[in-house]
Symmetry: C2
Subunit: 136 residues, 2 copies
């Protein structure tokens, strides 16, 4: 299940990409337009800023804005920051690998084999989609 955090983050990024100007957009404007709790969105945007997706400007006329071109923001990066691992089990995760404590041999594990395929197929989708693709 996709968390609301990720969902809202994607929507916010899409909104910022859809307003063609590079002017900062206020949190309140995004929240209202996308029906998101203002305070919750605030924390999400903060995360995106800390991870290099957004820039911010304080004071009057301030807000958040995209740092990079939407075409240069792959969904893999966004998903990993907002949602965490793309894999459904840690033992097939590229960026968040962890060994299963109940499984003696990964290579012989049927779950491992299946989830490896699922990960790869999801990864392919995320790699083939940038923020620009989402709003077209």
């Amino acid at each position: 299940m996709l968390s609301k955090k990720t969902k809202y983050g994607l929507k916010a990024l899409s909104y910022l990409a859809s307003v063609d100007s590079k002017l900062p957009v206020q949190i309140a404007e995004i929240a209202e337009h996308e029906n998101i709790s203002l305070k919750f969105l605030e924390s999400i945007l903060l995360t995106l800023r800390r991870n290099g997706f957004l820039g911010s400007k304080k004071g009057k006329g301030g807000g958040y804005y995209l740092i990079k071109d939407p075409k240069d923001i792959p969904m893999t990066a966004v998903m990993r920051v907002l949602e965490g691992p793309i894999a459904m089990v840690p033992c097939v995760s590229l960026n968040f690998y962890e060994k299963c404590d109940d499984c003696p041999d990964e290579n012989a594990c049927s779950v491992n084999r299946l989830m490896l395929q699922v990960r790869d197929s999801a990864l392919e989708v995320y790699r083939n989609n940038t923020l620009a693709d989402l709003i077209s």
Copy 2:
């Protein structure tokens, strides 16, 4: 994230498919072999039985056994019973569809579009894998 319930269910099914005999296998044997809490596994096997994947036999020499040939058990069916929706958001789910309350127009929703692709790619993997494929 894949739930332990699904993970254990898949392992149990794989184990049953790997023992070539059609004789019932006791819960305790599966639990021990796959390092699963016995009582938890019990409830999972019950679910699988109620959904037509397993048969059971009581009394001495009893246990659980596969009803169908592993080649005829697609992962789509197993995943839907154990894990629930394959889609990451209800608004792109085939079997568990629900409208998002925050989204006025699904067709214009960037999250919807992305998650539709993710669902399709996962679905393809699950459709191309039967229980027989997991143990080979």
